[in-house]
Symmetry: C2
Subunit: 592 residues, 2 copies
Amino acid sequence: MSHKSTLPPKTTDVMQALMQVALGAEPADLVVLNADLVNVYTGEIQQGMGVAVKGPWIARVSAEVKDTVGPTTRVIDAAGRTIVPGLIDGHTHLAWICTAAEFVPFAAAAGVTTVVTETLEPYPVAGLAGVLDFLDSFRGQPIRILATAPAMVSISAAAKGVSAGDLNLLMQREDILGLGESYWQSVLQEPETYLPSFQRAHQAGKLLEGHTAGASEKKLAAYVAAGVTSCHEPIDAEQVLARLRLGVHVMAREGSIRRDLEAISRIRSTGVDLRRLILASDGASPQDLMQGKYMDGVLRKAMACGFAPVEAVRMATLNVAEHFRLDGILGGIAPGRLADMVLLPDLAAFKPETVVCNGEVIFEDGRLLKAPRRHAFSTRSLNTVNLPRRLSPSDFAIRSQAAAAAARVRVIEMVTDLVTAERHLDLPVSNGELMADPANGLCKIAAVDRTHGHGKQFTGFIKGFGLTRGAAACSAAWDTSDIVVVGANDADMACAVNRLADLQGGAALSEGGCILAEIPMPIFGLASDLPVAALAARLEGLKQAMARLGVAFPDPLLSLNTLTGAAIPYLRICEEGLVNLKDGKTLGLFAP
Amino acid sequence: MSHKSTLPPKTTDVMQALMQVALGAEPADLVVLNADLVNVYTGEIQQGMGVAVKGPWIARVSAEVKDTVGPTTRVIDAAGRTIVPGLIDGHTHLAWICTAAEFVPFAAAAGVTTVVTETLEPYPVAGLAGVLDFLDSFRGQPIRILATAPAMVSISAAAKGVSAGDLNLLMQREDILGLGESYWQSVLQEPETYLPSFQRAHQAGKLLEGHTAGASEKKLAAYVAAGVTSCHEPIDAEQVLARLRLGVHVMAREGSIRRDLEAISRIRSTGVDLRRLILASDGASPQDLMQGKYMDGVLRKAMACGFAPVEAVRMATLNVAEHFRLDGILGGIAPGRLADMVLLPDLAAFKPETVVCNGEVIFEDGRLLKAPRRHAFSTRSLNTVNLPRRLSPSDFAIRSQAAAAAARVRVIEMVTDLVTAERHLDLPVSNGELMADPANGLCKIAAVDRTHGHGKQFTGFIKGFGLTRGAAACSAAWDTSDIVVVGANDADMACAVNRLADLQGGAALSEGGCILAEIPMPIFGLASDLPVAALAARLEGLKQAMARLGVAFPDPLLSLNTLTGAAIPYLRICEEGLVNLKDGKTLGLFAP
């Protein structure tokens, strides 16, 4: 089992070897000469510096390292180049859409040598075994991929929380840095559900990653008091300042979900200390990866927003490592740290020329030099869509309870592409049924449990999704074990969901009994093994097909998948019913 | 067993209670109102702030906390006061001279709520049981005392290193934060002796505290490459900068051993980031404690040296907590942190008025409100001077090997009060013996093992110690299990050492067969249970008595005890012989 993707141990032999190289008594494996070194510890740019590397470790950083060059030492003359520590993306979601093997080349090209990913997506659909398989897929990759354990805040009882046994096992792993994001509202609403996991993380000496979107004052204090030490949700400088003042490590999110860095960058005008400000992606879409908007792009954006280059570099290196208590081995170019380094022809332009991870040159002149490992996911991980039978249109019929001509129902209303409101509408009853009215913006929405074999489902209404014909379904419904489907008619809803069962997961768009577009995602029903470029094209195709059916959201799959999510206000759906996140209570379709 | 002196666990019940207080649903135990709060995270001073405390923890920090005041809540109106986090002394030596019970009132009065002490002194003379007894003496104290495990760099084989079993046991304790200081020269000279302990600390996920006095470039890199992450030895800004650049947490030492802060403060002119600069005492003498020179004095000095008040506070709070990876619970005033706070009428004057530790007011208006606990040390800890028989003057006789009229010997020459040189002198042989010549500054020096029962000893010569008559002995000889004695004649050397056997440790000054001054130190032969004031007077008396015998050093006991030390250059003595730290080799008396 390769150590390359995790944290190599510092044994006596390793220390001896490092000391010998540092002393000039033994040659280094790799030496960088003549670099302008961004010293993240002091904030200086030191000119004419060298770095001597032995195995995966840095042995000496000094203006004088030529004495460590031996006959087989690889020498990189970095004259005219700036060298910075390998970037760390401290919060992302690698279970979504593409595999680590396909993601890694883009990360390496961006200068990213360490990623910390959530594991909350595989857990509800594939359990501990799924998470372990997911973690296994990171081993032997050219870059280091670390993770957090699933906190599993969910609106669905079937997906809520993580078992003590599973969490204790995960907390023993060195590649699990803490408990992943837990949405603050739910923690405050159901402390008895989530605090036991907090306690297990505390006991294991691990971190609690936070999610404080919209929290302030008393509620923010209550959540932070439980020991949460990070948040990637603030959207402006004021929210950042409120969290920095509480000692929270704040991750300025600049990724495919949201781009908050520009608004957050106004924090600079306050003059406060920014040692706890971090740059993170929270996930990068295939399209964004293709367009160079990953962490190298984030660094460029940070500098464009006025952060000094050294400060920007720190926000993606030392500050992240300090948050994760890994600064003894990551986040800076110094003796005893892992040799993760990025050579840049121009610091401000931030276009990585050479990337070193664990002492190996993994990227050079636009080419990945070390092949990613294609992981063979287990049969179980590849078969996660488990419906008891094929669905028929009648499975999405909604019968009125009463004999009246109209019924008052709760409707999910799209307020933005992500935020929803709870709206109560009086719908006509036709032959004892309530119908979608796509011409007036009213579709049906259903959440179908795809995991537990019983196919439990709940069907309701959604307004403002835009679909005028057909149906769109996806098996990557956030925070649940569900397929989520929105449709203009019951038949296309059944068609789309049945197609996902055939594909063992993915996204499908149906109309008139035909599949107009689809993306197979057989890995946990969450990810494809297609290359990033192909996925970007498929996603774009799906988006255009959905647009033709009336959906105008910038990322229609995101809009669809978040409808089951437990973090974005307000009215959400799962296989048990509707849930208004204001109080977290499960609601029926019919309003009083 | 009280948790007050260590780290209380954050259980679900604790988190629930904190959240209820933060939300204003339950009253706080203690509330501070209207304070100017030094926010170490942002660097701001926030005016009109309140802090709500529940048990030992902070629940809410906000301008608005009055809603947490209940009928039994203690309220402190801090109008006109500044509140800062409790100070942390990140490197000190509590085994020397006074007990924790006597030290703690001075620490509390200085605003210190956390101390990290070495344990290297009890280990060679009382073993693991002694270290555990020492650690037990910290329990139930009004302030929090944490520790590092002994690294045991020593010039004596009997005291060198720490056993795997002992170290593994210590590393499992949460109050042991890492491996204590290891002197770099010895680590580089004998890596096979010391690196196994490094590896054990790494495996346990603990820190390696460093000691890099005089190291630079390659040697400094070699030591840091092994994973050492702190150093308290730099004496000027240039040395500090060299270490900060390597990512080392640098402790600016301002204590009774040395006062380096003023020279180090010139680092400010470089403009480098100081997040890794820390203030530490490295030990405070009873005299300094009496004179207010502990951490409150260090803070005043830092501000006098030009550090902005907030920066100075950070150097003794957040920066220290971050180094020890305890910033999730210590080092700042924020929700979820332990309620350690200091109220100051005037930040710049830094005279603590009220000190809160673990949520309890422990010091107020010049009075300690919570009594320190007097620890009942074990019989073993109180009986550590174990000589096989009473010594006689002839035990200190030095016989010449040859029949010649003179013999060339290695002599310890005092260069400063602490630094020595190896000097070779031709001494006359009289009746086959080599004699001290106090009139010409030449005394005898002996190191006598007091621990292992065999009384193994080595006697040599020392020049420049100043003693013209009598002998001075002490059982707190650094880094060894020895009594060290310097004498103008053999009879007084025997007299002084025998007195230490009677006292079971301490310091004794003899002349003409009489004891002129003495300080009993029965606790490990290292510490007295006298109050600090009494000890300061006794030390002053001993110093004056030694001055009358010709010793002019500022701290003559320190000069005596360090003669066996493994860190201060160059020629040292232990029961096995002389050792020149340049190469660490044990030498005989007779020079070639």
